[in-house]
């Protein structure tokens, strides 16, 4: 039986007067991939950003409710430490304008690791986890911006795992990538979820079906249905979920 990593209780979020998230309560399981699906503007990315308090950076945002990660109240967390524990990968790969090595080592250095051999180990381990090591091991000093889109995204994932997070948030991580790169990143999910709690926003129903264990369907700021992916995709309870996943709207 999976254990619960993140407990979300009665989250309401407002952008000014716009009520973007309405009474969201959800328990997200550890060592599993949870997909957040829903039409554009439904609140899934907004919800994702609640989990590492990225919404704090947006002016005029008001959030009520409670989020706990591993039993700790998110609002009381040091936000820098939070973003180490809860890593994020974005739709558009965003490597730093530095070498491949420095991209990975940057985070651990910020968090106090100075030993070169330890950093070397971290860089190799992270790049191996991201299935990128064999492709870049002979050019770690090369500029990361010279990598292909798919490689850059895997680098971003490696950068996130280098600081030993507990949770990985991924906001449409493959939507800007070609099919071959997409498959490589999807293949990584099996190994990533053995160590981390992974939450992924995706517009791709087939992707959600392929890689996720649980799926949460959002619509107009509400959480309509949340269950094991096989259940959502095989026999959803709510007609709105069925209509969305079968492409009848959205």
């Amino acid at each position: 039986m999976e254990s619960i990593k993140i407990r979300v209780k009665d989250i309401n979020l407002y952008y000014g007067n716009h009520h973007a998230l309405k009474n969201i309560s959800i328990d997200i399981y550890d060592k599993a991939v949870t997909a957040l699906i829903g039409p554009s503007g439904c609140g899934k990315s907004t919800f994702l950003r609640c989990l590492n308090r990225m919404n704090d950076l947006i002016p005029n945002v008001k959030i009520d409710g409670e989020i706990q990660i591993a039993g700790n109240d998110l609002s009381k967390y040091d936000v820098i430490l939070l973003r180490k524990k809860v890593g994020m990968v974005f739709q558009k790969p965003n490597p730093f304008p530095m070498s491949i090595y420095e991209n990975i080592a940057y985070g651990p250095k910020i968090h106090g690791i100075k030993s070169k051999s330890k950093l070397d180990d971290i860089v190799e381990k992270s790049l191996r986890e991201a299935a990128l090591w064999d492709e870049v091991k002979d050019r770690l000093k090369a500029n990361a911006l010279g990598l292909s889109g798919g490689q850059q995204q895997r680098l971003c994932i490696a950068r996130t795992t280098a600081v030993e997070p507990e949770v990985l948030l991924m906001d449409e991580p493959t939507s800007a990538l070609d099919p071959a790169s997409t498959i490589k990143i999807e293949d990584m999910m099996e190994s990533l979820k053995k160590q981390y709690t992974v939450i992924i926003v995706t517009h791709n129903m087939q992707q959600a079906g392929r890689i996720s264990d649980f799926t949460a369907f959002f619509l107009n700021g509400e959480l309509i249905e949340y269950d094991k992916t096989e259940k959502i995709f095989y026999k959803p309870r709510d007609k709105r979920t069925e209509d969305y996943i079968t492409g009848r709207f959205g």
Binding site: M205, Q206, G209, F233, Y234, K235, P236, E242, I245, T246, G247, R248, F249, G250
Partner: protein, 218 residues
């Protein structure tokens, strides 16, 4: 409405199922008519028509697999298509039973029947209705209708038992009647098996609509 193309393809699939069911119902009706009237020409027509049923089965299977490959259906869409794949198998087997009945008619050609056929045509009439109504239930995704159709299987089973007892008596009374009685028993059994196939179809209809597997034999 999004997915127009896919919905149109699903509609075409349903139309194909209706056409196949209609050919199968005809095969069954004609096989019994041929039996009653000892019409060898009609029996031959039923046997020849089986190739069409087999062709339709393959075409529908092909269509289903293409839909799965190209449209990636999930949830109810997938269940509807998967159910179509199962149903065409049952329809094809029903047509095979009609052919078996037609072949027996040919074997009994020239012989006077040992008794007037009453219960066998009655059984056949019930199952022909079951075939038609089961496909109707599939088209309309009508779970209640599917359940109701499957319940008629009890009446068919009852008639089969009755025919069995009657024929057994006939055979015991007069060994010269064993040959024909045995063939009539085969026919009764074939019709009883057709009803079982229709029950399978009804179970798949319920699965398509609700996602639940049920055993309608219980």
């Amino acid at each position: 409405m999004p997915r127009n193309h896919f919905d149109n393809e699903l509609q075409e699939l349903v139309k194909d199922m209706i056409k196949m069911s209609s050919v199968v119902e005809d095969a069954l009706s004609y096989s019994i008519k041929a039996l009653k009237k000892q019409d060898i020409e009609l029996a031959d027509k039923v046997i020849a028509q089986d190739d069409l049923v087999d062709k339709m089965e393959l075409e529908i299977e092909d269509k289903c697999l293409r839909l799965i490959a190209l449209q990636q259906p999930i949830a109810k869409d997938l269940r509807i298509i998967a159910t179509a794949l199962k149903i065409v198998t049952d329809l094809e087997r029903i047509a095979d039973h009609a052919v078996d009945i037609a072949r027996i008619t040919k074997r009994l050609s020239g012989e006077k029947y040992i008794k007037e056929l009453i219960d066998i045509p009655r059984m056949a009439h019930i199952v022909t209705g079951m075939v038609k109504d089961s496909i109707d239930a599939y088209v309309r995704q009508d779970v209640d209708k599917a359940r109701e159709v499957s319940m008629r299987d009890d009446e068919v089973d009852g008639l089969h038992s009755q025919i069995f007892r009657e024929l057994l008596l006939l055979m015991m009374e007069d060994p010269r009647k064993i040959n024909q009685s045995t063939y009539f028993l085969f026919i009764s059994q074939s019709i009883e098996r057709i009803a079982d196939h229709v029950t399978n179809i009804c179970e798949w209809i319920i699965y398509a609509v609700t996602g639940e597997h049920v055993d309608l034999n219980e």
